[in-house]
């Protein structure tokens, strides 16, 4: 009789685990989708976080100014989205609109990582920045969103 219980327990547990596996399985970072509503080069986004900027028609390279909102990047611990402020073709500020906030631990991590990532981005003037250790997902989301903002600014 005990054998029956153990066998039944194992079989049904495996079934439950398989169902659990099927229910899960979103990848950790999805590529930013181009159809994201927020963050077109001009005009306003869905939550007032839209970009506005102008490309100066003057001569001598780019002298873009304004704010540009990157696409929201979905990560395992929640979406990440940044907005850059550009003055004269230079990134002068990076604001995090959304950071990984899936749970208490993620909030803690993103609060630690955001200032570091911002400093790196301002120094590098690009999205080629080092990931903050311990904040892999936040960093990946941050750089992806940053890159899309830079693309929109046409820098």
């Amino acid at each position: 009789m005990r054998a029956r219980a153990v066998a039944g327990g194992i079989v049904s547990s495996i079934a439950v685990l398989v169902i659990g596996w099927q229910l899960g399985g979103q990848p950790a970072v999805t590529a930013p989708s181009q159809s994201t509503t927020s963050g077109t080069a001009s005009g306003s986004g869905s939550s007032g976080n839209g970009s506005s900027g102008s490309t100066a028609s003057g001569t001598g390279g780019s002298s873009v100014s304004g704010t540009f909102t990157g696409d929201a990047t979905e990560t395992r611990y929640g979406p990440v989205q940044v907005r850059i402020t550009v003055a004269g073709g230079k990134i002068t500020d990076v604001t995090a609109l959304q950071l990984t906030d899936h749970d208490g631990r993620s909030v803690q991590i993103s609060q630690q990582a955001a200032p570091i990532l911002r400093q790196e981005a301002l120094a590098a003037q690009s999205a080629s920045i080092q990931a903050v250790s311990g904040a892999t997902f936040t960093s990946e989301g941050y750089t992806t969103s940053l890159q899309s903002a830079i693309d929109k600014a046409g820098l």
Partner: protein, 478 residues
């Protein structure tokens, strides 16, 4: 005072008129199959609940793409915590005295399973804490100490550490070596902390745990499990005993010393026959006097309760029990129960073999009283250390005579020459369980007495080939 308080059988639990053997056999077979199927089903449910705990993680985003050593450590820690918490809730249900569990495999078996889960749960919880600290540390590139400090500053985490500490205290105090040295009350108070531990551990699961994040079905399931387990505790450990106590208003009417250190406590109350107590069951009694109210005593009914009378018989086992002899008539009594599967309801075989030693006579006597017996169906073996340790033997002999049961007595200290439940003299004469109970293999064997002694009886029965389902052992401890 004494004889008037003597309980009598009542119609409510009195068995039907003797049924034909074949009918009884079919009924017992059906009832055994049903209990065995329910037992297996409950076991499978426990397995499934643990599997669901893992599935919660499997179904959460990101479990399919764990990155790096830190990620693996972290996720192993999360799974360990989920399984541990699920098992803690299973332990709560096992200790909740749910009637279905008691009727199906008995509260003593439930507690045995509950105990066997204690240490694995503690290891899982410690692994949960250690793996997550190392995992977070590895991801952040910091050491475990820095990470522990960081975790302490995370909301709800200090409470989680408190819960872990409480669990350690509860399990350590329940280790056999430790528990033996602790007074029962001290152990019990520490054990009650497990409710606090379960509750203070919850906030960090909901706020810091990514698996149980707000708005997920995982979170709803987890909270439902908590409500179920704590609800069963609240209903069956607190509400039902309270209602039983208030409804039946049990009071002590007399305390009768029947041997040195042994008293029968005669009780009066309302509608005691409607307690539904079967012969062989026990209750957890609390006598509300200044010196005894803080100690609950698990004690068997020593007779089937009548309409307004009941009787229990207690031996001076511990500090609390010795005070029971001095309880005055009129003392108010609260009751949790009746519990136990040491009844004729658990029978599976055509014959009945009853073995009792010392104070273990009490459920055996009540069982004999409450069983519908053909002449020759039951055989009783009473065991006592000496002439004094023969509690209730006379009335048991009377019951045996009226039911046409055979009765044997075996008196003397256990032989020291080898591990046996018999005195030296009987051992030398070549007495065995089979010589006392020639139909042992077609009998239900009910054994009640000191743990070490009754284990030896059961061992001999198993060696003689008695199937497990025919062996019924009442364990007198805790």
């Amino acid at each position: 005072m004494i004889d008037t308080a003597r309980p009598t059988a009542h119609p409510f639990t009195a068995p039907p008129a003797t049924e034909p053997l074949a009918v009884a056999a079919r009924r017992r077979d059906r009832s055994r199959r049903r209990r065995s199927a329910t037992t297996d089903l409950l076991g499978i449910l426990a397995w499934i609940s643990a599997a669901v705990a893992v599935a919660l993680w499997l179904a959460s985003p990101g479990s399919h793409s764990v990155v790096g050593i830190g990620g693996w450590l972290t996720d192993a820690g999360i799974v360990a915590g989920l399984i541990a918490t699920d098992l803690v809730l299973v332990m709560l249900v096992l200790a909740a005295r749910v009637p279905l569990i008691d009727r199906t495999f008995g509260q003593d078996t439930a507690i045995a399973v509950h105990r066997s889960l204690g240490k694995p749960v503690l290891y899982l919880l410690l692994a949960h804490g250690a793996l997550l600290t190392l995992g977070y540390g590895a991801s952040a590139g910091t050491g475990p100490i820095v990470e522990t400090i960081a975790l302490f500053s995370t909301p709800d985490m200090p409470l989680a550490y408190l819960g872990l500490g409480l669990f350690v205290a509860v399990v350590v105090s329940s280790l056999v070596a430790v528990r033996r040295r602790l007074p029962y009350e001290a152990w019990h108070v520490i054990h009650l902390l497990s409710y606090a531990a379960v509750l203070v551990a919850l906030p960090h699961m909901l706020s810091a745990g990514s698996v149980l994040a707000a708005g997920t079905w995982q979170r709803a399931y987890w909270i439902a499990m908590y409500v179920l387990a704590l609800g069963l505790i609240a209903v069956y450990r607190f509400a039902v005993p309270f209602v039983v106590t208030v409804r039946h208003r049990i009071r002590v009417v007399g305390v009768e010393p029947i041997a040195p250190g042994v008293v029968s406590i005669h009780l009066a109350g309302r509608d005691l026959d409607r307690l539904g107590a079967r012969g062989g069951q026990y209750g957890v009694w609390r006598f509300w006097t200044a010196t005894t109210w803080w100690h609950a005593h698990p004690v068997s009914f020593s007779a089937v309760p009548g309409r307004d009378r009941a009787r229990i018989t207690v031996r001076d086992l511990g500090a609390g029990s010795s005070r029971l002899g001095r309880i005055r008539p009129g003392a108010f009594v609260s009751l949790e129960g009746p519990y136990g599967l040491f009844t004729s309801r658990a029978r599976t075989a055509p014959y009945l073999a009853l073995v009792a030693s010392g104070i273990g006579i009490t459920p055996v006597r009540a069982l004999l009283e409450d069983t519908d017996l053909r002449p020759g169906e039951a055989t009783v073996l009473l065991r006592g250390r000496d002439a004094q340790q023969q509690y209730l033997w006379r009335e048991t002999a009377d019951l045996a005579a009226t039911t046409g049961s055979r009765l044997f007595a075996m008196v003397g200290h256990r032989a020291r020459s080898r591990a046996t439940w018999m005195p030296e003299e009987d051992l030398r004469r070549g007495v065995t369980l089979l010589s006392v109970f020639p139909r042992l293999l077609e009998s239900d064997l009910y054994v009640c007495g000191p743990r070490a002694w009754s284990d030896l009886v059961v061992r001999e029965a198993r060696l003689a080939g008695v199937p497990e389902h025919q062996i019924h052992q009442e364990r007198f401890e805790s």
